[in-house]
């Protein structure tokens, strides 16, 4: 197989995985949450049914307009595109076309689309949700960026696929902890699901959205779980991989990586099920402290630790 064929095949595999395996991940998480609750819970295929139902419904938006129209698909597309830069046990299909900064821009753009979608409506709840989303962006997302920077500094490069773990470093242990906590916030899980906060803001920025638009927002979050989970494993946690570039070895790595992401999502959902929601000011303070810790990680990496 020539290199182009490999990239195309990988791209197709990535597309299929990110689009169609991410709801499954959500389904598993809901099931685990139900078990913690002593509930039976919905079948793990429920997120597919949810998406299918929303996608065929009428798209009712309180205040239609270009932002309301395009923000949901844009948020969706940004996360989908960002996946192509993230290694998944194998190097990413677009791994050499963009570095971690492209990834960060795409993810931030997606969050900004959510904010814009909330601000485009006139409900006070969606405005409050968007302003909270903004505060989460400049704190939690900053932690993610800084901990990724630490990896880049330590690995002397910015291409995510080239930064896969190699040996233990103190700086990456610090980065790992910061990333894991901030990821909880980016995925909209407790104790940090503050912008959506069902019991306070009735889903915040999403309150006025329904049908396909809402489906795209939900799907965006499902995909984020897969993308951020995979990034975590490839950048901070190492495990023995098949080497040599054979197709079987690649598929094996791919499968092991997916399994690892499922395991990680169990950790995410267990934290989610055992914590109440923090207030935005408490959360901002928490991540403010974490930014300092993550910056310390970058310093360690620069010193070669």
């Amino acid at each position: 197989m020539n290199a182009t064929t490999v990239v195309v095949l990988k791209a197709v595999a990535y597309l299929a995985l990110v689009l169609f395996a991410s709801p499954l991940l959500e389904g598993v998480m809901r099931k685990v949450k139900a078990i913690v609750h002593s509930r039976k819970g919905p079948p793990i295929t429920q997120p597919y049914l949810d998406l299918a139902k929303l996608l065929v419904k009428e798209d009712v938006v309180s205040e239609p307009g270009p932002v309301a129209r395009f923000a949901p698909p844009a948020a969706f597309a940004c996360v989908l595109a960002s996946a192509f830069f993230v290694p998944f046990g194998v190097s990413a299909p677009a791994g050499s076309a963009g570095d971690l900064f492209v990834f960060v821009y795409l993810v931030t753009l997606s969050t900004s689309c959510v904010m814009a979608a909330g601000l485009a409506q006139s409900s006070p709840f969606s405005h409050l949700g968007s302003s909270r989303e903004m505060m989460m962006l400049i704190t939690a997302e900053a932690v993610i960026v800084i901990s990724l920077l630490g990896v880049a500094v330590g690995g002397h490069g910015a291409l995510l696929s080239a930064l896969a773990v190699s040996g233990f470093r103190w700086s990456s242990l610090v980065g790992l902890c910061c990333y894991l906590l901030a990821m909880q916030a980016l995925l909209g899980k407790l104790p940090f699901d503050i912008p959506e906060a069902e019991q306070e803001l009735m889903e915040g920025p999403f309150i006025e959205y329904s049908g396909p638009s809402l489906a795209l927002f939900k799907w965006t979050f499902y995909m984020k779980q897969l993308v951020f989970g995979s990034l975590f494993f490839n950048l901070f946690v190492g495990w023995p991989r098949a080497t040599g570039g054979s197709v079987v070895g690649g598929l094996l790595n791919f499968a092991v990586n997916f399994f690892a992401v499922v395991v990680l999502s169990l950790v995410v959902v267990l934290i989610d099920a055992t914590n109440p929601r923090l207030r935005i000011d408490q959360s901002v303070r928490f991540f403010g402290g974490l930014i300092a810790v993550a910056a310390l990680g970058v310093g360690l990496a620069a010193l070669g630790w």
Binding site: R39, L128, R279, I280
Partner: protein
């Protein structure tokens, strides 16, 4: 009784010639002092401040058929002295008005607005005389609790009666919470004014589900039908209402209730408190997004519901109380099962208390949230765990013992943190106390009859007051007997009525994120509908199902029939 005599003479010497008449409601332990309307404010201030009495409720009564115009009673409680004080004034049949006591006693604000709405007795000088209870389309001149207004009146909707809520102050924005909101189980509208995330003010509109139950009581139901309707005032703690009503009437006519019946009432009341507090903790968890708490406490609660079904025949609305006693015995062979169920809860509950005390994230969301100072709690008339979480040592079981609470020790639980965490801890510990009380009550329950036969031909004009410590706080029922085998006047005050008035004080300066849990920490219970309306959205037709239809629908739809 010497203490009450002392109270009365203190009041007498303060009021001097202004005290027109004094009397006693012996069985209720209440003093009645009648003054002229113009002396109401002065007398109320004296009772509230110098006699350190807590304002409880106002009762307006249409006494025109008896040739006495309208009557206004302000009821106060002398906690610790086991005494009620009734400050009474009569006003003319035409253009009835009394001076408002709200400028002196903030806690009276709603009570006065209510008699203004329902009886048309104007509270002159009330700082906020807007409508409280009546719907926005109810005619202004029609006061439903007047004796000449039939209970089933259906007036033409009036326009222009809606009274606007306050506009947001300054640059703040309005965050509308309700009438339907995820964490409100019942409709209520809180107009919250926020500056960014900070709450700077609040306005309130409620009573969307007002069902006119008091009106039914004095025009349609007989003495012994009322307990069954009273029980349906609340969907969680209904037994407190049927008990309080029955006791008020028993007090009015001086009827002695068999001791075993009093023990049974206490047992059922405490079991109700246990399941209500379990329910509350779940809802509080849910409000904070902590659904694991919700699911686990409601799982724990379910065996209590089965237990209630086993000993009363119903999960809810037990139908146990009648005037003069209870309808079902709790035979000795049921006692081990009750003890087994509550001991299992006790074991799990201890673990939950430990988990809550160690959960720093949870405490971060409860500490210094919904702060209600001890002074505000007193001034605004807060009751129950809301007051006890603000270090107010009041508990009806101790202050005005009823049922079997004078037979067993009751340990009052209060916390001095004055916030949502304090109210949470009060409820957590109270549940353990209730478990202990149930065990002691069962162990010491005397033999004997459970019902005293009761003749419905009661002398008219007798009055009784009774209070019951509901899970949410003090429930007050006032009854005055009539001459057609039904109350002439029946007044109910649920604890949430008192507690909600403190919401404004405890929300000020909080964050928007704290509004739901502050409200939730008061365990509000707005009202519950006893029938369903189904509206066809397309045609706009309203269809009201009859009880039989609903019954049949339930039978057809549920696979689970009969007792478990």
């Amino acid at each position: 009784m010497s203490e009450t005599s002392a109270l009365l003479s203190t009041l007498g010497s303060h009021l001097g010639g202004k005290l027109l008449e004094r009397s006693r409601l012996e069985a209720s332990g209440a003093l009645v002092a009648t003054v002229a309307p113009n002396d109401l404010r002065d007398a109320a201030r004296f009772i509230h401040e110098s006699l350190d009495a807590r304002f409880v409720i106002s009762v307006g009564t249409d006494c025109r058929p008896m040739g006495q115009g309208f009557r206004v009673d302000h009821i106060f409680s002398q906690d610790r002295r086991r005494t009620w004080m009734v400050l009474r004034a009569f006003t003319g049949a035409d253009d009835p008005k009394v001076p408002s006591i709200t400028p002196e006693i903030r806690a009276a604000a709603w009570a006065e607005r209510e008699f203004q709405d329902l009886l048309g007795i104007e509270a002159e000088g009330h700082p906020d005389p807007r409508r409280l209870v009546l719907a926005d389309d109810w005619p202004a001149s029609l006061h439903p609790l007047r004796r000449d207004v039939p209970y089933d009146i259906h007036p033409e909707p009036a326009v222009g009666q809606a009274q606007p809520l306050a506009p947001p102050p300054g640059d703040s924005v309005t965050v509308p919470i309700g009438p339907f909101f995820p964490v409100l189980e019942e409709p209520v509208f809180l107009k919250v004014f926020a500056d960014g995330e900070e709450v700077v003010g609040l306005d309130y509109r409620g009573f969307f589900n007002h069902r006119g139950i008091e009106k039914l009581g004095d025009s349609k139901l007989t003495y012994n039908e009322v307990p069954f309707v009273a029980e349906r005032i609340c969907g969680i703690c209904g037994f407190v209402h049927s008990t309080a009503y029955a006791q008020a009437l028993e007090n009015a006519v001086g009827a002695e209730v068999p001791l075993r019946a009093r023990y049974i009432r206490s047992v059922v009341l405490e079991l109700e408190r246990i399941h209500s507090h379990l329910l509350w903790l779940g809802i509080a968890g849910h409000i904070l997004g902590f659904d694991t708490v919700l699911m686990q406490t409601w799982r724990m609660r379910e065996p209590v519901m089965w237990l209630m079904e086993r000993i009363t025949g119903n999960r809810k609305s037990y139908g146990m109380n009648l005037v003069g006693g209870v309808r079902r015995d709790i035979p000795a062979n049921e006692h081990p099962e009750i003890v087994r169920v509550i001991e299992r809860i006790e074991k799990e509950w201890l673990k939950i208390i430990e988990a809550v005390l160690e959960d720093t994230t949870l405490l971060m969301r409860l500490s210094k949230v919904g702060v209600l100072s001890t002074l505000d709690a007193r001034e605004l008339g807060s009751v129950g765990p809301t007051a006890r979480g603000s270090n107010r040592p009041i508990d009806v079981r101790i202050d005005h013992p009823y049922a079997a609470y004078d037979r067993i020790p009751v340990h009052g639980i209060w916390k001095d943190t004055c916030d949502a965490a304090g109210r949470t801890l009060v409820r957590l510990e109270e549940t353990l106390e209730s478990i202990r009380e149930v065990k002691q009550l069962l162990a010491e329950m005397p033999d004997g009859p459970i019902m005293r036969t009761f003749d419905e031909a009661l002398p008219p004009g007798r009055e009784g007051i009774s209070a019951v410590e509901a899970p949410r706080g003090e429930v007050i029922h006032y009854v005055m007997t009539g001459d057609d085998a039904r109350p002439y006047r029946w007044r109910v005050r649920a604890p949430t009525y008192a507690n909600l008035q403190a919401l404004g004080a405890s929300l000020k300066g909080m964050r928007i994120a704290d509004v739901p849990i502050t409200l939730g920490s008061m365990d509000p219970c707005f009202s519950c509908t006893e029938r369903m309306q189904v509206v066809d959205v397309r045609s706009g037709l309203v269809r009201v199902y009859s009880q039989r239809e609903l019954h049949e629908m339930v039978r057809a739809g549920s696979g689970r029939g009969g007792a478990r």
